[in-house]
Symmetry: C2
Subunit: 331 residues, 2 copies
Amino acid sequence: MNPHPYYNPDLHGAYRLINIGDLDLVCGQTLHDCTLAVATHGRLNDRKDNAVLIPTWYSGTSKIIEDVFIGPGRAIDPDQYFVIVINQIGNGLSSSAHQHAGFPAIDIADDVSAQHRYITQHLGLTRLALVMGGSMGAQQTFEWAVRFPHMVQRMAAIAGTARTSEVNKVLADAIIDGLRVQPPSAGLSQHARLMTLYGLSAAFFEHQHFKPLGFDSVDAFVDGFMKPYFLPMDPGNLTTMLQKWRAADVAHLAGGNVRDALQRITAKALIMPIDQDMIFPPSASQADAEMIEDAVFHVSHSPAGHLALFGIDNDWVQEVDGQLFELLARE
Amino acid sequence: MNPHPYYNPDLHGAYRLINIGDLDLVCGQTLHDCTLAVATHGRLNDRKDNAVLIPTWYSGTSKIIEDVFIGPGRAIDPDQYFVIVINQIGNGLSSSAHQHAGFPAIDIADDVSAQHRYITQHLGLTRLALVMGGSMGAQQTFEWAVRFPHMVQRMAAIAGTARTSEVNKVLADAIIDGLRVQPPSAGLSQHARLMTLYGLSAAFFEHQHFKPLGFDSVDAFVDGFMKPYFLPMDPGNLTTMLQKWRAADVAHLAGGNVRDALQRITAKALIMPIDQDMIFPPSASQADAEMIEDAVFHVSHSPAGHLALFGIDNDWVQEVDGQLFELLARE
């Protein structure tokens, strides 16, 4: 099979493809030979107590996780931790729609089941010092902490909630419908616009925070940053992830009651929204935090809004590092 | 000609169709037999000093203006004022794309030129006690007050700015492209979603302000309120208005300098954004107000965001009335 022009290690850094076998999915179908693309940093220590798991967010891969969160001297320091970055199913590096006609619907719970199988059966781990993620990565983090509370010592949910809000379902529907537009480049351009409008913030545009990124105008930012980001992607892969996001609800583990679900969490938790985030406003994260026994709620600051996750605001990246240092020091 | 199933007086209340003749447009073309749909309330007094002009906003008609702003005992009281509501060109009641193939691009300045011709040559007025409008109606209000300062005694710009922001151009582009989707009902449904996402506010959905409107869920609100509102409309008419919105800039009257333009205003001004408005955030209106000599800046409050203009939040409607009473009392 020829390498895909976008979904390959040249663009996304080294990862291993791990076949974890057939995965029975929430939708009732089976994903045969489910393959996880896994990037690791650092080494497992002898006590096997320094593993950090980071699942990826919508449209992202293990590469951006490494760029934004991992490095010597950082909170997530590969000299200290064994960092396991697992690409979510459907993101183009793990099993994805662009590889298979009729790719099934994937649930956040399917990702966590697959990751759990890899973590326990392939790596032989029983504890994770930290599970963390942003956006859909935060949703996987919630699912981990609720489903496997005995394994998750700490959790950090950054700019993501335990269940997808009703209005975010409208946003997901709008983006999904937009991706159906032909030709695919037109749908992906529209997608780039919608993510520009909802992913950033009024302050980002008003105070021209695109200028330090090298763009003279909003149009130049959309054409030079947002479109080039989305245009190489596969609309089917994006749709898999959007439908997964749309359906995400940790309460499925507790008969539909989100409070009952979150009260199962025993991890020391950091719940950290971004103040200007239009997709996941801080109030929704505060409600999550109040239902978790041992949660620190911290509102991080960035005019970049949700897309602060891209690492385009260095102040925000440093603020997150500070919070993660504190979380990792909690015993 | 058969009446259009949506653009007719049965749905939008009584109006007169006034042929003001050929109109030379900003785009260089001529709109032949430019026809304005005009609804009036009350009577001109003998001194001819009680005329109030209200142009319409995007997608709206004279009907919603009447419902939200006009009535006995209200600030805009037809027992006291001669209220002239003029449908903007392209809105389906005045000259519009659904009536003519190859309908030309219309500028806010074209609307104001057409309205001025009607007001001066047909009605014989030289002064307007008040020009007011919401959203694109506010943009026409700014254009009036800058272009004809000697005529405009008072102005109220509600939830609209003197020039369209860069990010709103991205929103306009997204909506315009969405309207090209076939079949038209699919494009209009997508349009309804985008206006749901940007027209309301996070607080509106979080605190379920759709429930007092009779909807049990966000989906029910979108399906039962937003889609039925947009689905009967003509995508070409909406596109005319969107392109007009996209290009709106009062600074065209002053060599591109918005400060020079706004400093021409002699009207007593009320600049009134809505605190939760995601399309026209209050900070942008504050900047406008600071450039106008005699402006009161007041941030009105509604979780309905921009679509408070629809009159779905009675507290906001009353707050606006209070501000308009104060403006009309200013001498």
